[in-house]
Amino acid sequence: MRTSLISVLATALIANFSWAESTLEHKEIPAPDGAYVLEIGAAVRVVNSGGSLSLTLASNLEGVQRVDAKWSPDSRRVVVVISYTRGSGVEAAYMDGSGWHKALQPDTDLPTDELSRQAGVSGRLVSQSCRLGDWIDSRRIRITGELIFSGQKKALYGYTLVFTGEPGHLDRGGFEEGVIKGIEYHVR
C-alpha cells in the first residue's frame, strides 16, 4: 500500500514538473511558387512540396505566443518573427546553391538606447515586440516594432531587414549571423 502510494505520488510529481509544450495552432504557409511550405506547429520547419524536411528553424516553441512568417516574392527566403509575451526575435531561412540555411538577427542590431532617446522615453525596458511588414523586393522587408518601458512608456519603431549577401558566421545555435541585418531604424 505504502509502495503504491509513493508510486502514485511520484507520478503526480513528475507530471507537475514537466514543462509545457507549445499550444500554437498548426499553420502551413506555402511559398509563392508552391515548391516549399513553412510549417508552424510544435516546431517551425521548411518542408518541400512532398513533405520532406528541408530545414528546422525552431525546434522548441515552449512559451511562444505567436509566430508570423512571410515568404519573399521569389520564394527563396522566408522571414519569421517568434514572439513571447515580453520579447520577439527575427529569424530567416534562405536557399542558395547548396541548399537551405537559417539566419538570425542578433539582439545587438536593435539600437534600443537611440530609439528611446529619439522617442523621448526612458526607464527600464520591459518588453519589445515586432511585426512583419511588406517585402520591398526579394531581399528587403519592412518590420515594425514597439518598445515598452516601465510606466508603460512606449517607443514605436520601424526598420528594414536586409539579406546582406555576405557570408555569416555560425553561432552555437546553428544560425548564421550577419546574413540578415536591420538598417534604417527610425521612430514611428
Binding site: I14, G63, S83, P106, R124, S127, S150, G174
Partner: protein, 198 residues
C-alpha cells in the same frame, strides 16, 4: 524518488522582498542595465553554488562543459509569476514563458533567469536549461533555470528567489537596493537534468 527528494528540498524560507528606502537605482543605472552585458572569460566555479530555490541544483553539473551564454550586467528583478507583486511592480506580468503544471513560474518561489529569444536561439538554450547566477560583489552563486523570455538585448534579469539566494536585496517595486552586478551563465541542452537538494 529523486524528484520527491528535490521537491522536499525546496527552500521554504524565502521571505518576502525586503524593503529599504535608500539605494534605489538611478535612471542612469537602469539605462546601463539595458545594455548588452560584457562577456566574461572562463566559468565560475560550481563548487560553492547553492541549490536554486524550487529547482534545487543540477545533479551533476560537472558534465555541463562551457557555458553557452554568458552575460555580466546590472541585476534586474523579474517579479513575473508572483501574484503578490501585482500592483507593486510596474513591470509585473502574471505570466512567465516557462510553466510548471500549466501555471506561471512564481518568481518568489523559483530561482530563474530571463533570456531574449535571440540569445536563446544563438546559444541553443531552451526554457528549462540550467543557469549559474553569481553576485559579482559577494561571490555568492546559485543555480537557476531559464524560465522567462524578455526583450532583445536584455541581460541580468533574475527572479526574486534567485536574487535572495545570491544576497541581492530589492524593494517591493522590484528596484534593487544598490547597484548589484551579476554574471549569468547558461548551459544549453541541460533542461532534462534533474535538480536535487545540496
Amino acid at each position: 524518488m529523486l524528484l520527491i527528494a528535490s521537491i522536499s528540498g525546496c527552500d521554504d524560507s524565502i521571505s518576502s522582498p525586503s524593503g529599504g528606502a535608500s539605494g534605489t537605482p538611478t535612471q542612469n543605472d537602469l539605462t546601463q542595465g539595458q545594455q548588452i552585458g560584457n562577456a566574461v572569460s572562463g566559468n565560475q566555479s560550481f563548487d560553492h553554488a547553492s541549490g536554486g530555490s524550487g529547482f534545487g541544483s543540477p545533479q551533476d553539473a560537472s558534465q555541463f562543459g562551457a557555458a553557452s551564454f554568458t552575460s555580466d550586467s546590472l541585476a534586474k528583478i523579474d517579479t513575473d509569476g508572483d501574484p503578490s507583486e501585482q500592483g507593486y511592480d510596474q513591470t509585473w506580468n502574471a505570466q512567465t514563458s516557462g510553466q510548471i503544471d500549466g501555471q506561471p513560474v512564481n518568481s518568489a518561489d523559483y530561482a530563474y533567469v530571463v533570456m531574449s529569444q535571440g540569445q536563446m536561439a544563438a546559444s541553443g538554450a531552451q526554457i528549462g536549461d540550467w543557469a549559474l547566477v553569481t553576485n559579482n560583489e559577494t561571490g555568492q552563486s546559485m543555480w537557476a533555470r531559464v524560465e522567462d523570455v524578455g526583450p532583445a538585448g536584455g541581460t541580468g534579469e533574475i527572479s526574486e528567489a534567485c536574487a535572495t539566494g545570491v544576497g541581492i536585496q530589492f524593494q517591493k517595486n522590484s528596484n534593487t537596493v544598490g547597484n548589484p552586478n551579476v554574471t549569468v551563465q547558461v548551459y544549453s541542452g541541460t533542461k532534462s537534468i534533474s535538480g536535487g537538494s545540496n
